[in-house]
């Protein structure tokens, strides 16, 4: 009962803020609404008892990605003319077709999926303990995550090297 109420509150927050994020004309406000959407998602994870995933969501998206967005927006300066330019007809049509295709794919996935749970229950947070997660991420056997983990770190290393080359003073 209580979980259902909280689920609907969170869902309303996520949907409302997602709508506001795409309809607002100020880019900084859009970033802030995006932050609320991400908080709502983290709330859903906490509701399902996945505290680690929820914390990661807050850490990576709130503490990392959105801060990076806001920082980048601050550095690039504010555009004083908040009026948006009117789009050409071809652009409008392209946007319409792209959104329709996206909506069709999303609806197909949602409708064709059989959702196992009819009632939302909050499992114990001990379901997957942090010890299990930690051992899985460095396990090399079946269902182990050592290879993806290393590949991601190579990607990050490449990003750092690239950033250094761009920022280096000659």
């Amino acid at each position: 009962m209580a979980t259902t109420i909280i689920f609907f509150v969170l869902a309303a927050i996520i949907l409302g803020c997602a709508l506001l994020a795409v309809t607002t004309k100020h880019i900084m406000r859009a970033a802030t609404y995006l932050l609320f959407v991400l908080f709502g998602t983290a709330g859903l994870y906490f509701l399902m008892g996945y505290t680690f995933l929820g914390s990661v969501q807050v850490m990576v998206y709130a503490g990392g990605v959105v801060v990076l967005y806001i920082f980048a927006l601050m550095l690039t300066g504010r555009s004083d003319n908040q009026k948006e330019k009117s789009m050409s007809v071809a652009k409008k049509m392209a946007a319409l077709i792209a959104s329709l295709c996206g909506a069709a794919i999303l609806l197909f996935v949602i409708i064709s999926q059989k959702f196992a749970a009819t009632v939302l229950t909050a499992p114990n947070e001990q379901l997957t303990s942090i010890q299990t997660l930690g051992q899985q991420i460095i396990a090399s056997d079946k269902y182990g995550y050592l290879l993806p983990f290393e590949v991601v770190s190579v990607l990050l290393l490449a990003c750092i090297v690239g950033g250094l080359i761009i920022a280096r003073k000659r």
Binding site: T51, F52, G54, A62, V67, I70, M74, Q126
Partner: protein, 359 residues
């Protein structure tokens, strides 16, 4: 040690006897919320008074002494003044974000505040990823400060917010690394479990000897920077930026930033006390049984507050002793010294734990 979970469990079963469980949990959540807010306010009053007095004594002054006996009512007078101030509205500022920004800072402060274990069995948020959750939610505050600076549409707040963003993101790394050192020593991220281990086997700072002491010192430096306090108060350096990111705030908007700053100081100290100095665990010296028995009679929350305020005093001492750094010195201190030292420290702690060299 008295286990507070007896009281909370009794209260829960009492409520469950007269109503369904989910309403009982709802009422308990409201009580906990009220408890957090009241404690937050009381601690803010104590900390602001303490800061003014400690600052005064370090500068050979007397400090507030007119309002009430020894100036005890000064803080209440300040709050009344702040509540009745005119709220200045600026043209060309983003009103929505400007008004929202202090609440981000306050929300981060409240969430981290809720993680602290006050006594045995008296924790509010106690996940099995407690320490990680603590670091994660403390990152929300940065968003508030950046938004405050941007939405003010004025040059000093923007410079202050820029500095603050760079500073907070950098020093969060050191905080995470030092907390990781302690987590390696304890083998758990659950804060109540970390304290329970310290009550059983001795405080972490003694148990982990050299790496733990190193981690404690780095944590204090990084924590001081994370709270935007001197000598790291670059984001609001009053001699260069008037007040940094909250220059354009008046009345309670400024009040919330001020409140969050002091409570962040307390939260930082309380976390240092929890993970290094044993939290609510009493001082136990092996061999002195009579002394230990007397110490065990002192309730856990008294120990906790004594340790937390000891660390608060240390941080205030640092603040009023050292002059402010430059921003490049600040960043090179973190990236060139503290971070490599704490990485080395993690390896040292791993060796200590693996070779069984803990005390």
């Amino acid at each position: 040690m008295f286990d507070f979970s007896i009281v909370t469990k009794w209260f829960h079963s009492l409520l469950c006897g007269v109503m369904p469980e989910w309403t009982a949990i709802g009422i308990e959540c409201l009580i906990v919320l009220l408890f957090i807010i009241v404690l937050y306010a009381i601690l803010a009053i104590v900390l602001i008074y303490m800061e003014r007095k400690v600052c005064a004594f370090f500068q050979c002054r007397i400090g507030p002494n007119r309002v009430g006996k020894w100036g005890l009512l000064q803080v209440f007078a300040d709050v009344l003044k702040m509540l009745t101030k005119e709220i200045i509205k600026m043209r060309q500022s983003d009103r929505l974000l400007h008004d929202m920004a202090p609440y981000f800072v306050l929300a981060a402060s409240f969430l981290t505040f809720a993680c602290i274990p006050w006594n045995k069995g008296l924790e509010i948020l106690d996940f099995n990823v407690g320490a990680f959750f603590f670091i994660a939610v403390s990152g929300i505050g940065v968003v508030g400060i950046l938004l405050a600076g941007w939405a003010s549409h004025s040059k000093y707040p923007i410079i202050g917010a820029m500095r603050s963003g760079a500073q907070l993101i950098s020093y969060e790394l050191s905080i995470g690394m030092t907390m990781l050192t302690v987590i390696m020593l304890c083998g758990t991220m659950q804060l109540s479990e970390i304290v329970q281990q310290q009550a059983d086997y001795g405080w972490n700072i003694v148990r982990g000897h050299v790496p733990a002491v190193l981690a404690f010192i780095i944590y204090l430096i990084a924590g001081n920077a994370e709270c935007n306090r001197g000598p790291f108060d670059l984001p609001e350096a009053e001699s260069e930026l008037t007040a940094g990111y909250h220059t354009e705030y008046s009345g309670m908007g400024f009040g919330f930033f001020y409140l969050a700053e002091y409570l962040n100081l307390f939260i930082c100290s309380a976390m240092a006390a929890t993970i290094f100095l044993g939290g609510w665990a009493p001082l136990m010296i092996p061999g002195l049984d009579g002394f230990n028995a007397v110490m065990a009679y002192i309730p856990g929350f008294v120990w906790f507050f004594a340790k937390a305020f000891f660390v608060v005093f240390l941080l205030m001492w640092i603040r009023w002793t050292f002059p402010r750094l430059r921003i490049d010195q600040l960043l090179s201190l973190e990236w060139k010294y503290l971070l490599p030292i704490s990485m080395f420290n993690i390896i040292l702690m791993a060796l200590v734990v693996c070779l069984g060299l803990t005390l």
